[in-house]
Amino acid sequence: MDLDQLAIHANRFLAVVRRVPRLPFVTLAIAALASCSAPPASRSPGLTILPASASDLIALAARPGASATLVNVWATWCVPCREEFPDLLRLGRRYRERGLRLMLVSADFDSAAARAFLVTQGVAFPTYFKTGDDMGFINTLSPRWSGALPATFVYDGAGRLVRFWEGKAGHGQFEQAVRAAMGRTDRPHPKEKTR
């Protein structure tokens, strides 16, 4: 992570903390600083893996500035997760300018395994690593989630969960859900108007 990126992330953290002081960003901020001091990944300089609870993820999904947020919980050992990963990244690239926030959350036992996979996939942005016990994590994200992986949660620009499913999806399903979430947004992202 270079100094400009560090400054951007720091400003975003501070902006959010100031705006919603009670949100659980302290652990994430500490983790972000810790990750900055770690040696950078050789081929993905923007890649970070921040520990996050389900509450952290929901709070992050509700941050202003996105027209939709897609949270995908995956693991390196999960074959369908690996299979859908390229479609997710393609969607992320295609819809980034339209305000999509893509949050990849590893449920691996070991973050080193997750990092190795993310590097091979060319991921060069902040990602997350599940913390906390399974049942609390599952039920906080959705009481309808059985715990099967992968699991995908799509939020609108106001942080409301509008789509959820477990199991593998393709680009079409991801795109449809994201477009639906963007359509529900009360405060459309400015870039959406120029689409």
């Binding site: 074959v79 599952i138 039920n139 009481p143």
Partner: protein
């Protein structure tokens, strides 16, 4: 001219969404229900054809959807074998069912199941759900996933083995073990529905 009656669809959509979000996940066997497809014969690792009904114990029946390849199963396997043994000692029948399509996961083939059961000392049947229809009927979605029925055949526990797959020494809640003890004693199960992360079942013929 502005209508005095605002459109109702946003409210209806919000209500539908709220119902969808709050409803229990569709398809999962509910507490109190009996084991579906309990007479379906499935091939055991010893070559015999067994059904869930054929392993029923005097005090209950433990049905475990599991497989070979899943790291979550591997992490819990020792505890699963131990709990199943304790269940059988207490008069509760036990059966492990592999619903995965081995075309997707070669590690889950019948031959590999035989090898795994032998190597890990499974003291209970480990059978093939050759159509994945038994798992579908239970509403099982991932491995490992446990269903425990009492002496009357009613589902009294559904969920995880315990609350910490990766660190056995840090387990705080022994969900399945406690449920087995309660059922054997004819007592209600305190935590009847629990959850944990696991590997999606690869159903034969698509989901």
């Amino acid at each position: 001219m502005i209508s005095r009656n605002p459109p109702r669809w946003p409210a209806l959509a919000a209500a539908t969404l709220a119902i969808a979000l709050l409803a229990p996940r569709a398809g999962a066997l509910a507490l109190g229900e009996a084991a579906p497809k309990s007479d379906v014969l499935m091939k055991n690792v010893d070559g015999r054809e067994l059904s869930i009904a054929s392993v029923q114990g005097a005090k209950g029946t433990l049905v475990l959807f599991t497989c070979n390849h899943c790291p979550w199963v591997k992490a819990w396997e020792g505890r699963m074998v131990q709990i199943a043994a304790q269940a059988r000692q207490r008069g509760i029948g036990a059966i492990a069912i592999n619903p995965n399509d081995p075309a997707a996961y070669p590690e889950d083939s019948y031959e590999n199941m035989q090898k795994r059961a032998r190597e890990r000392g499974y003291g209970f049947p480990y059978v093939v759900d050759s159509t994945s229809d038994v798992a579908r009927a239970f509403g099982a979605t991932h491995t490992p996933e446990a269903f425990l029925f009492d002496a009357r055949g009613a589902l009294v526990y559904h969920g995880a083995i315990d609350d910490n797959a990766r660190q056995p020494g840090k387990v705080k809640a022994r969900y399945l073990s406690d449920a087995v003890k309660a059922v054997a004693a004819g007592k209600p199960v305190a935590a009847a529905e629990t959850k944990a992360l696991g590997c999606s079942i690869k159903f034969r013929g698509g989901k």
